[in-house]
């Protein structure tokens, strides 16, 4: 539902007295305790269809509030039962889920196995299957309602990452979705989550209210507003003025501004792995491992973190995110002499190297810094700027010739993280191709025995780290401004779980 009338014009005509009274009462001040919690983000919510989630925040954050999935990902990567009570891998290719009884959708429809079947099947048809990853991610072939409270997920191959993909397989009210035009479903979501949808004023705000019938009890904060405020300085001003409670997307150089009488700044390392991807389909010299290792020794990552990232993050120490990473792996040491020696040993000195950058805040500064470090070891870096869409296409076509500034997603699952560098992964933008590595990752992905799989994954993790498919940089710091009235633990993966927040005092 999109609100139509917005302004009350009569207020203007009621004369100076009314205007003065209005001025004395800033928005929402009328009900100090009932004041909604406001979350401000750079990006707009485009659609609230649960099967068209395009980003963790803000769309994902709203969807997570209104909908539930069978399981939810905890900030440490473990799984919490939601609409599923328990699960087992009954056979290598069959997962069985026991569902939570007595759950109702916000429109009164009952949650049961048929609802799961309906939603999962919807994710497998166009246009939803292009954006929903459940089926290709899990090799799912069939969803079966065994009884009203049991669902079987049948896959073509043994799947180890079923829970991972189910985290974002949201379940909406089936009858409502079936009987309603798609544009209405996307504008007026109905799920079974902790919050119910109230209204959406496009380009401005989505308003939610606590679901009193939530199976886990209504969340502590009653009214929540997700606002779209594209300018960071405006978001920070709102925070200082006390009219916003969570500012998403604070940058290292503006972090100090999030501190005020009303607010504080909070940060975590983040999970997005920033790096310079090294092309394996471009310059031949880059196919030499010694050259790639030289590039890693040439760049002073700790100093760049201090100067460009405000010291608010750590150097990458693995392609696998914590807490699943091998603690034995250490970041490459900044050693320009070693870099020069490696380049000399490989017989590739002084070559010209394109350094491409596109998206991400600060991409230009980072690329320039990397280029100057590479220049210092005798290479001839050439900076190239790309428009966002073009950059995406270059990635997809594996068309970069040199190195490119990129960030790999906020995942907490070693096998999903490692699979992107296998030769047939569609998003292997570097075109890295190593049959030994492919074999390790593939074997791991069908090994159901946990310790055995962990050993294989560790082997793959260590192998790829030494291979240097990237110039390893850092975890993109996740920095937030929080109002002092809010008690909330931020997550490293961008999601705002507002149902876990409380008001202080």
């Amino acid at each position: 539902m999109i609100e139509a009338p917005r302004l009350d014009r009569r207020r203007f005509s009621q004369g100076a007295a009314a205007l003065a009274a209005l001025m004395a009462l800033p928005r929402g001040a009328a009900a100090a305790d009932g004041k909604p919690v406001v979350i401000a983000s750079e990006e707009d919510v485009s659609t609230l269809d649960p099967h068209l989630i395009r980003n963790n925040h803000p769309i994902g954050s709203v969807i997570w509030s209104v909908f539930d999935s069978l399981v939810r990902r905890n900030p440490d990567g473990t799984h919490e039962p939601r609409l599923a009570l328990s699960w087992e891998q009954a056979e290598p290719t069959r997962w069985r889920f026991k569902l939570r009884p007595n759950v109702k959708f916000q429109n009164g429809e009952a949650f049961n196995a048929d609802a799961v079947v309906f939603n999962f099947n919807r994710m497998n048809v166009s246009p939803y299957n292009a954006e929903s990853q459940l089926w290709p991610g899990t090799n799912l072939t069939k969803v079966v309602a065994v009884d009203p409270m049991t669902v079987d997920l049948v896959t073509s191959e043994p799947t180890i990452n079923m829970l991972y993909w189910l985290e974002e397989a949201f379940i909406g009210a089936p009858k409502y979705m079936a009987d309603t035009a798609p544009d209405v479903v996307g504008a007026h979501p109905i799920g079974s989550g902790p919050y119910g949808f109230v209204s959406w004023k496009q380009g401005d705000r989505v308003t939610l209210t606590a679901n009193p019938n939530y199976w886990n009890g209504a969340p502590p904060i009653k009214d929540v507003v997700f606002r779209d405020i594209p300018e960071l300085s405006s978001r920070l001003n709102e925070l200082k003025a006390g009219s916003v409670d969570i500012v998403v997307g604070v940058t290292p150089d503006t972090a100090a501004e999030a501190k005020s009488n009303n607010s504080r700044v909070v940060s975590t390392n983040g999970l997005r792995k920033m790096h310079m991807g090294i092309s394996f389909t471009g310059l031949d010299v880059l196919k030499d491992k010694r050259v790639r290792q030289a590039l890693n020794h040439a760049v002073d990552v700790p100093t760049m973190i201090e100067t460009l990232q405000g010291g608010m993050t750590k150097p990458l120490a693995s392609l696998v995110n914590p807490p699943n990473n091998d603690p034995g792996l250490k970041p490459f040491v900044y050693d320009p002499d070693k870099a020069k020696a490696l380049l000399k040993e490989a017989g590739h000195e002084g070559f010209e190297l394109p350094v491409a950058y596109g998206r991400y805040p600060g991409a230009k500064e980072v690329s320039e810094a990397v280029a100057s470090y590479l220049e210092a070891v005798g290479l001839k870096p050439k900076l190239e700027a790309y428009e966002t869409g073009r950059f995406e296409e270059m990635l997809k076509q594996k068309a970069f010739k040199g190195i490119y500034y990129y960030g790999w997603a906020s995942l907490i699952n070693p096998s999903v993280e490692l699979v992107i560098l296998t030769s047939d992964a569609v998003d292997n933008s570097a075109g890295y191709n190593n049959p030994d590595y492919d074999k390790l990752v593939k074997t791991a992905s069908v090994t159901l025995d946990e310790p055995k799989r962990a050993a294989l994954l560790k082997q793959a993790e260590d192998f790829i780290w030494d291979e240097c498919p990237w110039i390893y940089l850092w975890y993109l710091p996740a920095i937030f401004g929080l109002s002092n009235r809010l008690d909330y633990q931020v997550r490293p993966d961008d999601y705002i779980e507002i149902y876990r927040a409380k008001l202080t005092g």
Partner: protein, 307 residues
């Protein structure tokens, strides 16, 4: 009768302009590349991508796509946004209201302040008042609106808390963005009116009017101002168009849910239907403003004939 002929002629012209605009937008949009790439996750399968392209009708040839767009547009259907999955017309009209509100409030401020200051400066020509107005218009033209916007926010929203920082929540929300947006127009209108009025004040008919012993205010407003109006109306028409387009920057600073941000997003995300729709609606607005301006000439100056 002349008005009817005028309207028919101009509407026929307008239709041609709209056709040209839509074709240009269509071609420019489609040369940017594949929208599906930007929409789906990197690991989406090729089959799913192809199905989505077909869903959007992007699998058809350009002439067919354009023909269908025009055909549907004639029936009032501007298609469905790739990104929002909502009817484009709804999206655009929803946001157009906010942009109009901002632009019109700014326009009103610019007209009232600009005319007032311009008249004042012309009447007090060569005095300190004139110098002050001239200085104000210089500063007004020189100050970048986004900078002014930030300063106004810090002073009036963060420090004094008189107005909201951003958004379109209450009746007060429009004040800061509209003031920010109006400054340059105010300055331009004031300068124009000052010089136009100075010219008019020296005209023979003004001397005659004064010699006839008419009231000073009548001489000024009926004989003087009316003659200075012609350049002002031309300028004001341009200003209104300009305000709508500069609203884009202001909308971003003040998180104002207007059409500018919608259109920019459509460009960035290659949302062809939304882009075509917003450009088309913007073109309709400009054509309408020009039409109204032309008609206004005849009301102000009987010598002007509509053709």
């Amino acid at each position: 009768m002349t008005l009817v002929i005028f309207l028919v002629r101009r509407l026929a012209g307008a239709a041609l302009v709209l056709l040209g605009v839509s074709l240009a937008t269509f071609l420019v949009a489609h040369t940017t590349g594949d929208p599906v790439t930007l929409l789906v996750p990197a690991n989406a399968t090729e089959a799913a991508r192809a199905a989505l392209r077909a869903h959007f009708g992007l699998d058809q040839s350009w002439p067919v796509q354009y023909g269908l767009f025009i055909l549907h547009a004639l029936g009032g259907d501007l298609g469905t946004s790739f990104v929002y999955r909502q009817p484009v017309l709804d999206l655009v009209l929803n946001r157009l209201g906010a942009t109009f509100e901002l632009a019109f409030v700014a326009f009103a401020i610019a007209l009232v302040l600009g005319v007032g200051l311009g008249m004042l400066a012309a009447l007090k020509r060569g005095t300190a008042v004139d110098a002050c107005v001239t200085a104000f218009t210089m500063v007004g033209l020189a100050v970048p609106p986004f900078w002014l916007g930030l300063i106004l926010v810090i002073v009036f929203a963060v420090r004094l808390q008189l107005f909201p920082v951003s958004g379109a929540d209450t009746a007060l929300s429009v004040v800061l963005p509209a003031v920010t947006l109006s400054l340059q127009s105010t300055a331009r209108i004031a300068r124009l009116l000052r010089s136009a009025m100075i010219e008019v004040l020296q005209a023979d008919y003004m001397r005659t009017a004064r010699a006839m012993g008419l009231l000073r205010s009548r001489v000024l407003w009926v004989h003087g101002f009316r003659n200075a109006l012609i350049p002002l109306v031309t300028m004001a028409g341009l200003e209104l168009g300009d305000l709508i387009s500069s609203a884009v920057v202001i909308e971003a600073i003040f998180a104002w849910p207007g059409i500018g941000r919608l259109a920019i997003g459509a460009v960035e995300q290659r949302d062809f239907p939304l882009l075509q729709g917003s450009v088309l609606v913007a073109a309709v607005c400009f054509i309408t403003v020009n039409l109204v301006v032309d008609w206004l000439y005849t009301r102000i100056d009987p010598r002007v004939v509509l053709r």
